[in-house]
Point group: C2
Amino acid sequence: ADAEAGKAKAAVCAACHGQNGISQIPMYPNLAGQKEQYLVASLKAYKNGQRQGGQSAVMQGQATGLSDADIANLAAFYASLPADGGK
Amino acid sequence: ADAEAGKAKAAVCAACHGQNGISQIPMYPNLAGQKEQYLVASLKAYKNGQRQGGQSAVMQGQATGLSDADIANLAAFYASLPADGGK
């Protein structure tokens, strides 16, 4: 996985999850420093419609256009960020 | 929500998500410092069977026995922990 490619792809994610992976919105999770494998599994579950409830409709729409490589790269990028937002 | 009550309830969660909310297992997410509202929505989605895929079967089993108050207290507890694990 290529975290740099993930960073480039993450521009759209930042609107809800923050530039540094710390969400400014209470309903949306922080992603910074999250486990890479978990992020991959979560994105695939959203893409496949396996996650319902909460804000899943938003994420299903976002994940639909992601390839497996995109997902791997995005997960590598967010996992690489400091969990405290770099403060 | 009562983070202290959540801490008492979280003993079983720690096996996978870590005593400090930082998972030692790549497939399981960190919970420390996560958004409280997101944790509530996620636990309810697991309990209701709305989250499939990944390790959701494990979490559905765990969440089944949780009341709305338990969920609120657990979410308050994990949201209160430092996202970097207190390092």
